[in-house]
Amino acid sequence: MSESLARTPLYDLHAELGARLVPFAGWEMPVQYTGIIEEHMAVRKTAGLFDVSHMGEARIRGRDAAAFLDRIMTNELSTLKPGAARYTLMCQPDGGCVDDLIVYRFSETEFLICLNASNAQKDIAWMRSLVGTAKVEVLDECAAWAQLAIQGPLAEQILALTTALPLATIRRFGFLVGEVAGASGCVVSRTGYTGSAGFEIYLPAASATQVARALLAAGKPHGLIPAGLGARDSLRLEAGYPLYGHEISERISPIQAGLGWTVKFTKAQFVGREALRRQAEGGPPSSVILFSLADRRIARQGATVFAGDTAVGEVLSGTLSPVLNKPIGTALVAAGFTGSTELTVDIRGTRLPLHVSVEPFVK
């Protein structure tokens, strides 16, 4: 923690709103304002506003941009239409994940990619190393963009108070570019990381405070509150979304993480294809499961999962689900035990039954 932490353009606003700031992926970020559970429930019932400006952005531009992305990503990006976005993994040759990303297509030859904060510079270097002779540029735009996420059942209604963009015409994973709260050049997409309805807004960094203030003011009468990374984590876990470094990593592949739907073996070639196909056909050595506990104790990252007295896995993420009011989490469990009804998890010396859930806890 001795290295200096980066601050988003909204740093002063966070301080003014009484946020508790913590180091996260090299950034000083708000973990909560009023409380994780209150912020979580606002997103499920009304709306919450997140500063996610720590996320990175790269622009991919050039005649070969689409073919390049098809070659380095697991999902198919060449079939994406301008104005649409797609979730994808970027893998190593051994199938481990470099990062998970959302790719936005602006035109035949131009894409914007959203990168995890902790991976942004690694991703950009990785992509550049794979360019070869392709006619494509990988531009680092991390500093140029701020990002806000407005999430919750009232998000659209509140966002509409600050923009003339026809939000109703934006389909899931679609986006429009236009003006929000007087700031031009905003990318407004119907995406999110909470499991509730809502939008993510990419905006020029200099406009971030103006837009955030306008949204908070417009949304306050409707129950919009600022929400921090604490609620973002419990929301994404309830929705069953992976977080890099937990459910996916350089050692956990998309096949293991249950993200096989993002891996298009119909493409003749892409980085990681052979390793991923072997896993998909032969079955991976271990897989990520979702679980809940009938207790109040939270099974946290690193806790050991047992089948009888045999250690068969480890917890990857754990939190309290405010909607279920019980602990939930994910674990990496050895093949053959992922459907077991006999699993337990060790929490500080106590073994508690772990209930595997096939479905996310909210949809």
Binding site: R20, V31, Q32, G35, I36, I37, G230, S234, R296, R297, I298, R300, T319, L320, P327, R348
Partner: protein, 126 residues
């Protein structure tokens, strides 16, 4: 600013202790501690009759973010644990010095209590 009532004694680990007229003492965690933990989801407390040395871990308080050990401020035997926290762990956030007391104990060495921090000394650590 967090509250630090003048009539209590404190540990550097953010427990408070109140010496009662009948020779027992009541122990909980401070307002500063609950604020730092965030939403408390679970409090694991010892059974009546168990004994702890001063500085020994007597339980765990868990929030959405983390689990933290609870340290016994004095050498003591448990005479009562606050079972109300099983159903309402969030009381720790709302009434850390009141309804969210954690244990009532019999002191084994009352002289130890005098060595704990008073309100001014504890405030200075925050």
């Amino acid at each position: 600013m967090s509250q630090v009532p003048a009539n209590l004694r404190y540990t550097k680990e953010h427990e408070w202790i109140r010496l009662e007229a009948d020779g027992t003492a009541t122990i909980g965690i401070t307002d500063h501690a609950q604020a730092a933990l965030g939403d408390v989801t679970f409090v694991d407390l010892p059974k009546v009759g168990k004994s702890f040395a001063a500085g020994e871990v007597f339980g765990t308080v868990e929030s959405v973010k983390a689990a933290s050990d609870l340290y016994c401020p004095v050498s003591a035997e448990i005479v009562e644990a606050n079972t109300g926290l099983n159903d309402s762990p969030d009381l720790v956030n709302r009434e850390p010095y009141g309804a969210a007391w954690m244990i009532r104990v019999k002191l084994k060495n009352p002289a130890e209590a005098a060595q704990l921090l008073d309100a001014a000394a504890y405030s200075a650590t925050l």
